[in-house]
């Protein structure tokens, strides 16, 4: 009997406490700085070009093989505006497959890729799974618009 009364008591006391629910779509709580959304590419604002040189390191290291990278000669380098000789030509990441393991960020020598730590890195539901394959422009868009709070590992 006592145990049953105890159960009743604790449920009643929980009822009188404040609910812990976060009212999500109306209230976005802050994501922690280290949040690992999905990977995005960073934009070198000084030179106005991506940091990425298309070195394939991330592509090779990715455990699930969800990236595709091609590189090209950097036109800005020819104009002496940039120190990068090669630059990324096309870059696809399949967000539908990425397991957000952070390996690509760790292997990149140019700090050109980072995990999105905003809500934009999470609210990505789509109706078609091909929409989850993002191309270079889409990958760069977040950082270009300065929506991203940079947190680079190490």
């Amino acid at each position: 009997m006592r145990g049953i009364l105890k159960s009743m008591y604790i449920t009643m006391s929980a009822m009188l406490r404040k609910p812990v629910t976060i009212n999500y779509p109306s209230y976005h709580r802050e994501v922690p700085q280290r949040d690992r959304g999905l990977p995005i590419l960073l934009w070198d604002k000084e030179v106005d070009e991506p940091f990425c040189t298309g070195c394939h390191a991330c592509e090779r290291a990715c455990p699930v093989e969800c990236m595709t990278v091609t590189m090209k000669d950097n036109p800005l380098h020819a104009d002496e505006k940039s120190t990068r000789r090669k630059i990324i030509d096309e870059f696809w990441i399949d967000y539908g497959r990425c397991m957000r393991c952070n390996i690509c960020v760790e292997v990149c020598n140019f700090e050109a890729i980072a995990m999105n730590n905003t809500w934009a890195g999470h609210e990505l539901s789509t109706f078609d799974r091909n929409d989850l394959v993002l191309d270079l422009d889409q990958l760069l868009a977040q950082h270009k618009q300065e929506k991203i709070d940079e947190w680079v590992a190490d």
Binding site: P19, V20, T21, I22, N23, Y24, P25, H28, L38, P63, V64, E65, D94, Y95, G96, R97, C98, M99, R100, W119, H122, E123, L124, S125, T126, F127, D128, R129, D131, L132
Partner: protein, 208 residues
């Protein structure tokens, strides 16, 4: 009358107790021989039949619009998912039902039996052994029904995409309405998926 041994033999084919058998009641003689063909059969997509509602033919067009709208509004406000977790994503799915995220706010309330559910959340890896069950469960849901593919595994195999026994995306067997990326997606991402689904229901009202 004697206690006959054939009783069980006669009763058996109708029941098809073999666990790996395709859900379609295929007589044993027509079953494919080799393992590969058999697997193909298991993995054929379901025939989607969204069914027809009588009112769509009977009601005059002018009345259909409010009926559609009312139904769509009700449907989007009361999406009952099936209690069905597969792998790691299931934990995040459960977390979404729980106090901190509380899917019940949107009227999303899990149901144990597919007969009473509207949405199937594929939360996790679908292996080829599991695929027939997923298909059968999908079929057993009453129309109208939707599927949310939660996480990388359900979307296209995710981390396990290189392994042979893992299905390369659940849309190979059942139609998927919303894909939620992530491994696992945050609870908020799942809620976002539900909101997307609600939009889709409103947009697609009156079709089919």
């Amino acid at each position: 009358m004697e206690v006959s041994g054939e009783v069980t033999e006669e009763a058996a084919p109708a029941q098809t107790p073999v666990e790996d058998a395709p859900p379609a009641v295929v007589p044993p003689s027509e079953r494919p021989e080799t393992g590969r063909e058999r697997e193909q059969l298991l993995l054929t997509p379901v025939e989607v039949d969204h069914g027809k509602a009588v009112y769509r033919e009977a009601l005059p067009g002018i009345l259909q619009i409010p009926a559609d709208a009312a139904l769509a509004l009700a449907r989007k406000s009361s999406l009952w998912p099936m209690q069905f977790g597969l792998a790691c994503c299931a934990i995040e799915m459960i977390a979404t039902y729980m106090s901190h995220y509380d899917l019940d706010r949107f009227g999303i309330f899990p149901q144990a039996s597919p007969r009473q559910s509207d949405v199937m959340i594929i939360a996790g890896t679908v292996t080829k052994k599991m695929a027939p069950a997923v298909k059968l469960l999908y079929e057993q849901m009453p129309n109208p029904k939707w599927v949310i593919s939660m996480g990388a595994c359900a979307t296209n195999g995710g981390p396990y995409t290189r392994y042979d026994r893992v299905l390369q995306g659940v849309d190979k067997i059942i139609p998927v309405d919303v894909y939620v990326p992530g491994c696992p997606p945050r609870p908020e991402a799942l809620i976002d998926g539900f909101i997307a689904l609600q939009h889709k229901i409103m947009e697609e009202r009156g079709k089919g």
